[in-house]
Structure formats: structure tokens, C-alpha cells
Symmetry: C2
Subunit: 186 residues, 2 copies
């Protein structure tokens, strides 16, 4: 691929990540192309179908979470700091919008079902691999499983109403902190 | 009003409370009548318009929150226990569904704008009247304002996905507990 084609492809994926993070999977390809500053024809050249694009996004998301878990497990920092970094990173990946809007999507636009199920299984395993370490170290309470942690995090990070961001711009960060304090072992 | 008419009216309001708590304001009057076990004609006799019904619901919700704040302020129990009871009660009122779906409603179906603004103001005052007491007593952190508390609670209580209830039926209660622990003064 030529350098400018590669750049376009990266811009498109970044735009797709941003838009699906904000609005969920149900964003138009046109909106993604616009955000990336390229024409729709360019988008279709890189990603002929919506499924192609979302499959690529899913792979990127998985790679991102794998890297975060890897950093947690092999990092040199204090375990509490690594746990916090991990949680903040997972929160930023914003699985919420994806999960919430998935149901309204047509099956043919989504990645293959087996791929999605495998991804879900792997994500839960990654979460549990981290949660089990911080549970054993009594950094978090005994009832904090990877699954509970992730579902709670996704709930906490879901934007309530657009107005909230205007009235209290730091409300999500505040709530994330409250959530993490609430998980801490007493 | 005759006793059976009063009973019908109460059943209708309860059905409306339940359904709007589950699905938000955008429920059909037909669904409410069905849930209450009465005909649509009976519903229209009691509440000629959607606005009439939602205005009555709003008044009930306000009365409910006023009573909860009143119990908090005048209760005899230990302050921490009263704070917890108050939070659990506000969580059960389920303002989330109402707030989230309000935007998609037609203005003419909603209570008058002044009424809604007055209600919002009063709700925030009630929250702050309670939050200021638990802040002063150092039961919660100094940054827990009534507004932050309420917005956080509404976020935490929002159902993420119907599947979650099936996989982890106690996830919402678990998350509410985590949230309240996270607000506690260290």
C-alpha cells in the first residue's frame, strides 16, 4: 500500500473508532469518511462493506485490550497504580456504545458471530486475568470478578445525557473514580 | 369518585410508574391501560391526554422524593443508615428512564415546561439538602454535591443491556453498593 493510502486507512479507522465510541456502531459510513476527511469512495476502497470495517475495529479493540492487560501483568510500577491504569484504559476503549447499539444492527453488517463470541470470551478472560491478581493482592474486594468489573465500568462510563457534559464536564471522571474507590478492599 | 373508579385510577398510575421506570416516558397509553388491566376508554376518562398522565406522574415522583428527604432529615436511625436508605430509595424511583427518554418526546405530551423546570430545581434542592448533611458529618467526601450524587446514581442505575440481568441478576445492586462505598469519606 502506498503511504497516502495507508494514512487514509489509518484516518478512517481512527474516525470509525471515535464515532463508534461516541455514538455506537450505528454510524453511517458517510459520517466516518467525512470525519476522516476522505471521500466515501476512498472508504469503500479500503472497506468494501460495513462488516469489513467493524471486523477491523473489533480486531483493533482486542489488540488494545490485550496490550493493556500485558502492561498490567508485566509492568514495573506499584500494583495499585497498574490496576488503576488498566481500568482507566479499559474505560477509554468505550465498549459501552458498541455493546448498547449492537442489538439494533443488522447481522450482516456485524463481524461474524463466531468472531464476536470469541472476542467476548477473550475480553472476559483478559479482565479476569487482571481482576484475579488484584483480588489476590487484596487491592479490590473478593467479589470483584472480571465480568462484574467490566459490566460495572461499562455502565459507569455510559453518557447519561449530553447536557451533563455541559453542566459538569468532569462528571464521568468523577464517577469513574468513585467506582474504583468502591471496588477497593476495605 | 366511586371506589372502583379510584381503584382504576390508582392502578393506572401504578402501571404508568412501572412502565415508565422500565422503558421511559415513551410508552403507549394502550400499554399502560393493558398493564393496569383496564380498557383504553377508562384510561382516557381519567387522563384525557398524555400530558395529564405525565403531569400526575411527575407530582407523584416529587411527593415520593420529598417524603424520602423528610424521612432522612427527621429519622431516628443512625445517620449513615438514613443516608443509605435515602440513596436506595432515590435509586428505586428510577429517574434515569424518564431523563433519558424525555428528549424524544413531543413537547405537548410532556408536563408544562415551567412545571418540569420547577420539579428539576426542587429535586436538586432535595438532593443537596441531604448531601450537605452527610458531607458535614464526613460520611461522604467533600466533593459529593447533591447534583453529582444524583447524576452518578442515575448513571449507575441505568440498565446496560437486558442480558446483564440474566447473567448477573444482582449486578445493579452490586454496582449501587460499589457506588455508595465510593462516595464514602476515606
Amino acid at each position: 500500500m502506498r503511504a497516502d493510502a495507508r494514512a487514509n486507512r489509518e484516518d478512517l479507522l481512527q474516525a470509525a473508532r471515535d464515532l463508534t465510541g461516541e455514538k455506537g456502531l450505528d454510524v453511517s459510513l458517510r459520517a466516518i469518511a467525512q470525519r476522516a476527511g476522505v471521500g466515501v469512495a476512498t472508504l469503500y476502497r479500503h472497506f468494501p462493506t460495513c462488516r469489513d470495517l467493524l471486523t477491523e475495529l473489533l480486531q483493533g479493540l482486542l489488540a488494545d485490550l490485550r496490550a493493556a492487560a500485558e502492561r498490567f501483568h508485566s509492568g514495573e510500577e506499584d500494583l495499585s497504580a497498574r490496576w488503576r491504569d488498566f481500568a482507566v484504559h479499559v474505560a477509554a476503549v468505550n465498549l459501552t456504545a458498541v455493546a448498547v447499539t449492537r442489538q439494533s444492527m443488522k447481522e450482516r453488517d456485524l463481524p461474524h458471530r463466531e468472531l464476536m463470541e470469541a472476542a467476548e470470551g477473550e475480553i472476559l478472560e483478559l479482565m479476569e486475568s487482571v481482576a484475579s491478581v488484584v483480588r489476590a493482592a487484596r487491592i479490590v474486594r473478593a467479589d470483584v470478578t472480571g465480568e462484574r468489573f467490566l459490566l460495572g465500568l461499562m455502565t459507569v462510563m455510559r453518557p447519561l445525557l449530553p447536557e451533563v457534559e455541559q453542566v459538569l464536564p468532569d462528571q464521568r471522571a468523577w464517577l469513574l473514580d468513585a467506582y474504583l474507590r468502591g471496588l477497593a478492599a476495605g
